[in-house]
């Protein structure tokens, strides 16, 4: 005979710590609550501020409709920052995907020093963004730039040529792109590497026996099979670059004369340094569409992974 837990206390315990339908929500609730509060509330507030006249010092806040958005849309700097953000994101992520694919190919298989190579390659991604950017600030320095010194030493620069990497708008944008490529390539590479590892060796063997040369093998077999994972890497890169303010902040502060502002940095300068919370909030909301699109694509992925 099996002794069943009798009595009030036994029964209450059974109903909670064994009842999965109560237990799981209880274990989930704190995390979800925290996230909802600390992400949901500020987000809603951001929407609210964007249609208000809030400033850093204001005691009372009034509703002003779409006034802030009108001001933004009429401001030249805003459109410049939007253009910059798109340009920097598109160019840098294109380069990231190309480089990461090439590098990932070179990292499959065994070779000497694999651990060290991986460590060195990951450094740009793991190091705090601000600190890595400071390193580049020094590398791009107007007087002591090692790039310029090396280029001159190798003969690429004439006696009167000395690029001011962070002082001239086009060069500055290039510098920002370089730093963004530099810090995202490691992440994209390891993600794509994971994708490459998931292709069964048999498939590669079959392609070899079937006679595929290097290019056909890559573009018709490997490439299509890692397309989903490459897309994931691209989406991450887009989010991290489109919404970033740190690189611009450290390298150029948005200069020279606001020519390298991106949406996120412009929102910072407007809202925090300039005190115009409402304006800053309105500007930062323009980051949302890209975020939403990426989120939808990820969710579709998750659905598909469930179905197969």
């Amino acid at each position: 005979m099996i002794a069943l837990p009798a009595g009030g206390k036994g029964r209450a315990r059974w109903s909670f710590v064994d009842n999965e339908r109560r237990l799981w929500p209880a274990m989930l609730a704190p995390a979800i609550l925290y996230i909802a509060l600390l992400v949901g509330v500020p987000f809603v507030l951001s929407l609210f501020y964007s249609v208000s006249n809030a400033t850093v010092g204001s005691r009372s806040i009034q509703f002003v409709g779409l006034e802030n958005f009108r001001r933004i849309v009429e401001s030249g700097t805003f459109w410049l920052s939007l253009k910059n953000t798109v340009l920097i994101t598109v160019v840098s992520q294109f380069l990231v995907i190309v480089c990461a694919n090439i590098l990932a190919l070179a990292l499959t298989g065994e070779f000497r020093g694999k651990w060290l190579v991986r460590f060195l390659i990951l450094l740009p991604w793991v190091a705090p963004i601000s600190l890595g950017s400071i390193g580049w600030l020094w590398i791009f320095d107007s007087i002591y730039s090692v790039i310029n010194w090396t280029a001159r030493a190798v003969g690429l620069l004439g006696p009167h040529e000395w690029p001011i990497w962070l002082g001239e708008p086009t060069l500055a944008k290039t510098s920002i792109i370089i730093v963004n490529v530099w810090r995202i390539v490691p992440l994209a590479t390891v993600i794509i590497l994971a994708g490459l590892s998931s292709i069964p060796q048999d498939i590669h063997d079959a392609a070899q026996v079937d006679g595929a040369g290097f290019w056909r093998h890559y573009f018709e077999i490997t490439g299509p099979l890692i397309m989903p994972i490459t897309l994931v890497a691209l989406l991450f890169g887009i989010i991290f670059t489109f919404t970033d303010m740190i690189v611009v902040f450290v390298l150029t502060r948005g200069g020279p004369y606001d020519t390298t502002q991106v949406i996120a940095s412009w929102a910072y300068f407007t809202g925090i340094q300039g005190g115009d919370l409402a304006g800053g909030a309105a500007i930062s909301l323009f980051l949302f569409p890209v975020l939403a699109i990426v989120a939808v694509v990820f969710l579709l992925f998750a659905k598909r992974a469930e179905v197969t």
Binding site: P200, D202, I203, D205, A206, A207, Q208, V209, D210, G211, A212, G213, R216, E220, I221, P224, L225, T308
Partner: protein, 342 residues
């Protein structure tokens, strides 16, 4: 149709001798089976023939030409993998067409050949499907079609039936042999299933620990095994080995029968203490020990059901083996001693 030859082939993985000096010749049009337990080196050997592994030393020759340094695509071979290795993102038609596109065949010709290969295996209606929509048997046919389409001179098959369920396996085996007969292409087939090997092979090469123990027809391998490994690996249940001085006496379970059944005076009689009897429908398997021996010598007898002699557990019966059914093996080396039968 070509010969395939391995000469003094050695493959080392770090310190492990996966293939330890193999000489092998597959004749034109032959169905040669590489048989052995897992880890014996048969898959490594096949991969070297295919060009997917580079030998540490030794050579591979196809049709008399040395191909050791050449990549797979320069060897005019085709391979069917245990997992079939169909390209998951391509339709069946494109899977089959892939090797032809790789050599630059013009499109109309490709289409014709794909249809021809598909017809050979009855998969024409599957051409627009993707691999994940196919059953195991269908996938196997696609893999075969892809192998055939280029009309290579050698087929390499790596356990292509092991992923099919048992019922399908027998019919697939039959079809496979028939299609190889029809095409006449030299085929090398890897398996660990000795029944499959016996059923399919024109000749069987039994491998263990990176070396070939014996090559021969199923008949030779079964009745005249070259050593104790082959003797006990082939046959289910395996050959009985009884120690006698410096030799093993080896005899097959079906040659070990009750005395009443085998009255031939020219045989050895063993007192057989039975421990267990299994009734398998077509036959009975009788497990037991030779009475009065230390250490315990386990033997098995296989009695067809039409012999209805009463055998019960714990009984001791006289069982007989004819001298001509006995093979002798040296106890130290395991090799067969010739002249062992009368």
């Amino acid at each position: 149709m070509a010969t395939v030859e391995a000469r003094r082939l050695v493959k080392l993985f770090d310190d492990v001798r996966a293939v330890d000096g193999i000489d092998l010749l597959a004749r034109q049009g032959e169905f040669l089976v590489l048989l052995g337990p897992s880890g014996c080196g048969k898959t490594t050997l096949m991969r070297m023939i295919a060009g997917l592994e580079h030998p540490t030393s030794g050579d591979i020759l196809i049709d008399g030409k040395v191909v050791t340094e050449l990549p797979p695509r320069a060897r005019n071979i085709a391979m069917v993998f245990q997992s079939y290795a169909l390209y998951p993102h391509l339709t069946v038609a494109r899977n089959i067409a892939f090797p032809l596109r790789a050599v630059g065949m013009p499109k109309p010709d490709i289409r014709k050949k794909v249809e021809w290969a598909a017809q050979m295996f009855g998969i024409e209606r599957l051409l627009d499907r993707k691999p994940r929509q196919l059953s195991g048997g269908e996938r196997q046919r696609v893999a075969l079609a892809r192998a055939v389409v280029r009309e290579p001179v050698v087929f390499l098959l790596d356990e292509p039936l092991s992923n099919l369920d048992a019922k399908l396996r027998n019919s697939a085996r039959d079809e496979l042999k028939q299609f190889q007969r029809k095409l006449g292409t030299t085929t090398i087939y890897v398996t660990h299933d000795q029944a499959e090997a016996m059923g399919l092979g024109d000749r069987i090469a039994v491998l263990s620990e990176g070396r070939v123990r014996q090559i021969g027809t199923p008949h030779d391998i079964y009745l005249r095994p070259a050593d104790t490994f082959v003797a006990t690996f082939i046959g289910s249940p395996p050959m009985n080995l009884v120690a006698e001085g410096k030799t093993w006496l080896g005899f097959r379970p079906e040659a070990f029968l009750p005395r009443e059944v085998e009255p031939a005076a020219d045989g050895i009689v063993f007192p057989f203490r039975v421990t267990r009897v299994e009734y398998l429908g077509a036959e009975r398997l009788v497990y037991g020990v030779i009475d009065g021996r230390t250490p315990e010598t386990h033997v098995i007898s296989k009695i067809p059901t039409n012999i209805r002699t009463e055998i019960a557990a714990d009984g001791v019966y006289d069982f007989v083996v004819r001298r001509q059914d006995i093979e002798r093996f040296d106890r130290d080396s395991g090799r067969r001693i010739d002249g062992g039968s009368a």
